[in-house]
Amino acid sequence: MSRLRLTGISKHFGAIQALSDVSLDLAEGQVLGLMGDNGAGKSTLVKIIAGNFAPTHGTIALDGRPCTFHRPRDAQREGIEVVYQDLALCDNLTAASNVFLGRELTRRLGPLRIVDYAAMRQRSAAIFATLKSETRPRDLVRRMSGGQRQAVAIARTLVAEPKVVLMDEPTAAISVRQVAEVLDLIRRLRDRGIAVLLISHRMPDVFAVCDRIAVLRRGALVADMATAATSPEEVTGLITGAIETRFGRAA
């Protein structure tokens, strides 16, 4: 059964049609690469799945159950986590505070509930350890390298046991060594049975970790195929429009 199923998703921003009639399936433990040119609608799709925007039309189903997300919190509650393109980190806060941003751990102090920094530091240290990252929970994000910032953003998705992790260009602005780390991490997520939707411009990354590749062009889905059944050349053609579509052919 599919973990995440999108059916007929469309999104308008005023006169701009960012997405039209996009349907996608994502299975447990599967990595789906979503590719497309700038402005193709990839980030918009991620934000709809994550509850940042409501779709103009279409439905989202998780484990066969239809879901409506009014807020990111609703999607989080259902086990959907996102690593945003800009990482969505607060430079002025510590790594631990960023990992738990919006869902800070608290403890009782008499009649009050106060933020439990010690517990947040401990748990984020444990997550960083599983990611084999040297990021220290107490450090301010402002002083961190690109790879460490990436680790913070990814650690954030692992706070709750997620069902689906959406990654918007996680390897866009980091060094080659760090890309390898992130790809390793994606494999680790997959091995835990998490369904991963990976948006990337980098063809080698997508071919390295994805089981399937889908292509968006000007808001419409033009391909959804097994990685083994395609090639970087074909994907490039689909992205640019040199190849019209892969639908109607055997996948």
Binding site: N52, P72, A88, D91, L93, E104, I114, R138
Partner: protein
């Protein structure tokens, strides 16, 4: 391996304890204020007198109370230019109510209610309608002061009905030798230092100031928090307004005029970063203290008070330059 890593972490934390204090703007501003006090004690016979210290501490308390509200707004990435007008509005409301014979508590609640309404309006226009804080609060600065003029018909109020003595005692009196406004300041400062550090609300205010879209995406109730921040700022202005009426024994409609400048200056000198995400309660209080010490010292040293603005302006630019320097290093 783990051991050496942990000891490395411990070491780096140890080192940062000292350098963190040195790196804190609040520390240097506090040092400047202490040095200024020491110099004044030596240079004049008038500074360290009980009477002068009483005046200095009381005067600074009003600005400091409001600077805590302003620091909260600035930490969330906003600005509130309407605080001076909230002061006069709260003052006029409590004056009109008490003059009409209402008890102190009811009048004070009405005054705080009026201030909170100003903050609510600011907050809704900024957080929900999405207008820039500078413009909204600039408009409100004009609007609220005009409202105060209308309410008072621009007449001075100095008769406060049956609870006259309570009001004057609250603003002008002292408890254990400490001016009442200072006691109020200490209470608000203690509560807010706790709130900044230990509550989710505090974390969220700083998160919004650090990266608003990140705060939104992680599900922080950004709008509600921004509204509450402007309401808190207005609340501190309302409290200061009530205390000022008690201290002065009268309400005039020029109360709080251009006070927003002193309050913003105090917050910024105390380390609040106008681009958001930084600021502290201690900084707000120490910033306000430094401004009052400068003001007082010019008077005591017989320097024309026309120089006040120059000194305060100099300090604002100095601390921001200091910040830039730190960023470059």
């Amino acid at each position: 391996m783990t051991n050496s890593l942990e000891s490395a972490i411990a070491q780096s934390q140890h080192r940062s304890a000292l350098s963190r204090i040195m790196g804190l703007q609040v520390f240097w501003v506090f040092l400047a204020a202490v040095l200024a006090c020491a110099a004044l004690t030596l240079l004049t016979d008038t500074f360290a007198t009980e009477r002068n210290l009483f005046n200095v501490t009381r005067n600074f308390a009003f600005v400091a109370i409001m600077a805590i509200g302003m620091t909260t707004v600035i930490a969330s990435g906003g600005i509130d230019l309407s605080v001076g007008s909230s002061v006069v509005l709260a003052a006029v409301v409590i004056g009109v109510f008490m003059e009409a014979g209402h008890p102190f508590w009811l009048s004070a609640l009405a005054a705080l209610g009026a201030a909170l309404l100003v903050g609510l309006t600011n907050g809704l226009l900024i957080a929900v309608v999405g207008m820039p804080p500078f413009v909204v609060t600039l408009g409100m600065m004009s609007f609220a002061r005009s409202l105060a003029l209308v309410l008072s018909n621009n007449k001075m109020i100095y008769e406060f009905g049956p609870d006259h003595a309570i009001l004057l005692g609250l603003g002008g009196g002292r408890l254990f030798g400490i001016p009442n406004p200072v006691i109020v300041l200490v209470l608000i400062a203690a509560v807010m230092a706790f709130v900044y550090r230990w509550t989710r609300w505090g974390q969220h205010v700083f998160a919004i100031g650090g990266n608003e879209s990140a705060a939104l995406m992680t599900g922080i109730p950004v709008r509600a928090i921004k509204v509450s921040v402007y309401m808190f700022s207005a609340f501190t202005a309302g409290v200061a307004g009530i205390l000022m009426v008690g201290w002065l024994g009268s309400v005039t409609t020029n109360l709080g005029t251009s006070m927003e400048l002193a309050v913003i200056a105090a917050a910024v000198i105390g380390g609040a970063n106008l681009s958001g995400g930084e600021g502290s309660v201690a900084g707000a209080v120490i910033g306000a203290l430094l401004i009052e010490v400068i003001r007082n010292s010019l008077i005591l040293l017989g320097i024309s008070t026309f120089w006040q603005g120059a000194f305060i302006g100099f300090f604002i630019i100095l601390v921001v330059a200091f910040d830039r320097l730190k960023a470059l290093r």
